[in-house]
Symmetry: C2
Subunit: 269 residues, 2 copies
């Protein structure tokens, strides 16, 4: 699917019109407004996040809900110099702080002696909880005027580079990097929301409703048009190819770390 | 690890003291306060959630951030009668509405013709995004006075019962139920925060820091004490055994749905 000139213009028009739909009766709710206004930011000021603000952001994740209160998450926290020291390269997008979020089953395995080896259950459980923790940090940051972006690939920062991070950070079996949240004060907040599927496409009741091919094509055209309007140097297709080109290595890493090495599972912490 | 009478009392004391730690300088921030005050609720009033409120809750998930804006999520939405009709049993905890959140790769596979078959990448990517969407709904609900609880097992509602839900809802390959958010107006909000690891245990900088055995034991004792003080009929160990007893079936389901049936992957939507 690729955008022709006419569909590019109409897709661009749809993006520019696209904004969150909140009933008028609920306008003015501060937290709801914040959730709707939040945008991923990739350009930051050279301004430090105060320690108490950063602590409150981490605290929001610490108290977030999680399956059976197992807290299957660990946070690798870095400022610019710690990042440079650990990875030998500058923090992605030159954020002021970064948090690598790990799906971490090590504590649960240690706490529960008869914890069984169920690698996909563990991966699913720990990963959904990491999503919750990441968004808790994201929203707490927004509430304190701090912007952020969640990375899964850029700069070897997430599950796409699990093997690299395992080696670099000394991760034991059962600990998997999922995503990195890079934080800072925004130097340039995108105003336009990236193209979203309508709720009519995302939601169903009763039995599962399969995707509508037209809605899928619309979205792809809008993504392509948005990239064309935003970036000179690369297209949405380029961005996808960047991911797809690394998919073999990423999958091999996950297969090895999640499914392999059962003998490591019983190692004591 | 089990609590003896003395460690029960000291663990209970720690729980009762446990509360979110936010620097005094940041007190009064409405969204931050809401994130800290949120509790999972399992007892609801017989009071309907208005449609506009429910729509705003779903909208918060629709506009939430996600990997490459792929929106790898689908929401099965139910009121009490739709739930009963679909599952033949009352909604868990008699909530007023429920949302089953699915990790859904079907739209991405349809949009991107050369999308490769990388099952663990897909599972990880879609599942972390579902966590984000679930917490977005949770927080939007809280902002509108609606409480909720996220379920992964109770009442066959999440990845623990993936095969059952696949059959029941007609899920195609690449669509996996992860968790169910049950929503309603609280009839009884728990005041005490369940025992959380301190940030010093959850966070590290530089290389990974292994769990501290003492912190793990403390947490387990606190969970046991909290269950003992809250429930007459079952212990934390019982709750864990409920999960562990179903772990074989849950893992087999995930292995079959995530890793199996590669031939189904190429089916057109």
């Amino acid at each position: 699917m690729s955008a022709n000139p006419l569909s590019f213009l109409s897709a661009l028009g749809r993006i520019l019109k696209g904004k969150p739909q909140v009933p008028k009766s609920l306008a003015g709710n501060p937290t709801l407004s914040l959730l709707m206004a939040r945008r991923s930011v990739r350009k930051f000021q050279k301004r430090r996040i105060p320690d108490d603000v950063f602590a409150a952001i981490l605290e929001a994740a610490r108290v977030a809900p999680c399956t059976v209160n197992l807290q299957t998450w660990t946070f690798g926290v870095y400022d610019q110099s710690q990042w440079k020291k650990t990875f030998g390269s500058p923090m992605p997008f030159l954020g002021d702080r970064a948090v690598i979020l790990f799906a971490d089953m090590a504590r649960s395995r240690a706490a529960i002696p008869n914890f069984p080896y169920k690698p996909l259950c563990e991966l699913t459980l720990a990963t959904v909880n990491v999503g919750i923790a990441a968004y808790a940090m994201n929203i707490a940051a927004e509430a304190l005027g701090v912007s952020s972006v969640m990375l899964s690939e850029t700069g070897k920062t997430g599950f796409y580079d699990a093997r690299y991070l395992k080696e670099k950070l000394g991760l034991p079996h059962g600990v998997l990097p999922i995503t990195t949240l890079v934080l800072g004060y925004s130097a340039s907040t995108p105003k336009t929301m990236p193209p979203k599927y309508p709720l009519s496409e995302l939601a169903f009741t009763g039995r599962y409703k399969k995707p509508d091919a037209k809605a899928v094509k619309r979205w792809y055209d809008e993504m392509s048009a948005g990239y064309r309007a935003t970036y000179v140097t690369h297209s949405f297709k380029d961005k996808l190819n960047q991911y797809l080109g690394k998919a073999d290595e990423a999958e091999a890493g996950l297969q090895a770390l999640v499914l392999g090495k059962k003998e490591e599972f019983r190692k004591k912490i």
